[in-house]
Amino acid sequence: MLVYYLIISFLIGVATVFNRNQTFRIVLLALFMMVQTSITIYAYLHIGADDLVYFKYDALGVIFMAVLTLLSFTTIYHSFVYLRHRRDNSRSQSIFFAALIMLIVAMNCVYLASHIGVMWVFVELTTLSVAVLIYHERTSLALEATWKYVFVCSIGITITFIGIILLSFGMGETVQIDFSFKALQEQLLVVNSSWLKLAFLFIIVGFSTKMGLFPMHTAAIDAHTAAPPPISAFISTTLMNVGFVAIFRTYSLFAHTVIQPWMNQVLLWCGLISIIVSAAYLLKVKHLKRMSAYSSIEHMGLAAIGLASGGIGYFAAIFHMILHSFVKASAFYQIDQFHRNFGTYIISETGNYFNRNRAGGMVFLLVLVGIIAMPPSGLFITEFWIFKAMFASSHYIFLILALLFLSFCIYSLTKNFLYILFNQTKDLLPSEEKTVASETWSQYFLLALLFYFGINPPAQMIQLIEEAVKYLP
């Protein structure tokens, strides 16, 4: 099935590159979304089955695939809105959508890969395809961001590859090593712990470029700033999920070896420093998109801490990533509308957004409630579980520090969002164009999911997450 998916997506992608007709472009994208939806449904119905030798429909992959498919609909819709307002020529629109299709396919393959080498290849492919999208606006800032993103990610992914090679060092020369996750897990049990530690460090540093976790978080921030807002939504959600899936799979690989307590310490530090970094930058941030990007770093830190705390933390980390995807995506879609209203992203040059665009202002208000994890936001539940897991694993100092710096983040986010929404002290230029309320429906839908899942998570999802964390200690 996967092979048909790849072939059809490739053909649709090629057709999108050469197509210059707007109607036909919509037809092609609708076709692609049909294929994407059907592979997701197929994957859900065939959980546990292998496909194409190197892929497997496991629970973790299917969860994030479903999130990706859902967000693909909204991102493609908002990309159309974005491109229509920019009045880009047909050629650059074609390239935009072709790269978007390639990105979605590559992310899908990362989620499903059951072989660490194949996963590596597709993670690199996500970098290359998202580079085209970041550079879409063709400004010097976009150029700088793209250059930095591609370069840092390429170096990062090389470091990951060194980690993978180091793993095979530990196992000795004579055995034929199988690099699929399942086989590696058993082979790793006999490996010397210093090799394991070295390999884990290299792999985690490399994948942190994608997840936006502490050592290599900078590339993602710059990419957010320059990318078109619908693409920022993707970078902040599904692409960070790619990093999370990669790190989660690496963690499960090493989870049964002797280095597990040490590994938890490393992840705890990565998570805590991510939160501290984001808190520090959020206090002085001036650019709305950078603010949202730093908020994503904070949430990635929390997910890493959840993973490191064990127990209910595993469950909470995955759930956190899912809910964070919904709220952050709707925030970035709204930022696009916001940008069209004010013509700028600089927070201090805006204000009174609630009166200028009631529907959009309401989205920002709900995003604020969601993002700072105020009940009834679903993130409240997951953060509560993460802190509970930290308490249960007696990481009290980490817990106190994380809560302290989290309150800084909450303060800065609230201050800035309330400024944008309600500050009436300045005389602002009237907005250049009337914002359309119907463009916010998809954002309300995602926010509704966030609040609904917090109160009443569907049983199928719970079951999938439990399945994904079943084998962890």
Binding site: V118, S154, T158, F161, S168, F169, E173, S194, D222
Partner: protein, 209 residues
């Protein structure tokens, strides 16, 4: 024989440190491709022809022919001044790269490399850090790509010394990815050349808080 080749590779790393002209660096990269072909040829001589063709393709075609020609084109097209413009003097570069070599020898003695052949490990690790050093210490954007390629060469040596190999398909994917990322980076160098007058990293400091 392998040791001689590996030592030549290590010497070429030091030479990159003092190579002032960009074309010299590109030539060194091409020579490194040939050395890597020699090493992998000796290593994998008993393995089947497909592997051999693949390695020939990866080292000679990619590393020695395609990428150097591509980089030369990039330099010509953008009228890049042919000096590498390091931030620090040549002498210091040589000292630092020698220090890196020495450091990797010490590291490989400290951690128990064991069955992994020590020579490979030392050269690979020093290529990795030399690449990073070149990226940090050079002003031009093109030299960053060259540093990245030196890192890739180091990784290639490391994967040779691991003995066991990835499946063919995965290997091909990895090679293609690296090749494409160099191409993409090169294209962006061209763009940087069109957008800014000088292709220095000083131009790329506008994104900040």
């Amino acid at each position: 024989m392998i040791n001689i080749l590996l030592i030549t590779f290590a010497i070429s790393l030091i030479y990159i440190g003092i190579a002032n002209r960009l074309s010299t660096v590109i030539n060194i990269l091409a020579v490194q491709g040939i050395i890597l072909f020699g090493v992998s040829f000796i290593e994998l001589i008993q393995i089947n022809t497909i592997n051999l063709i693949f390695i020939l393709f990866e080292t000679i075609v990619f590393k020695t022919i395609a990428i150097p020609i591509f980089l030369n084109n990039v330099i010509k097209k953008n009228n890049i001044v042919r000096e590498a413009e390091p931030f620090i003097p040549d002498f210091a570069s040589v000292v630092i790269i020698t220090g890196i070599l020495l450091g990797s020898i010490i590291i490989s003695n400290i951690i128990d490399v064991g069955h992994v052949r020590k020579m490979f490990f030392i050269v690979a690790i020093s290529a990795l850090f030399t690449g990073l050093f070149i990226i940090i210490s050079r002003k031009k954007v093109v030299t960053h790509i060259m540093g990245y390629l030196v890192i890739e060469n180091g990784v290639f040596i490391l994967s040779l010394s691991a003995g066991s190999t990835m499946p063919m398909l995965v290997n091909t994917g990895i090679t293609l990815d690296i090749f494409v990322s160099v191409l993409v980076l090169g294209i962006f160098v061209n763009r940087i050349g069109n957008t800014f007058e000088e292709m220095n990293v000083d131009n790329l400091t506008n994104l900040k808080d």
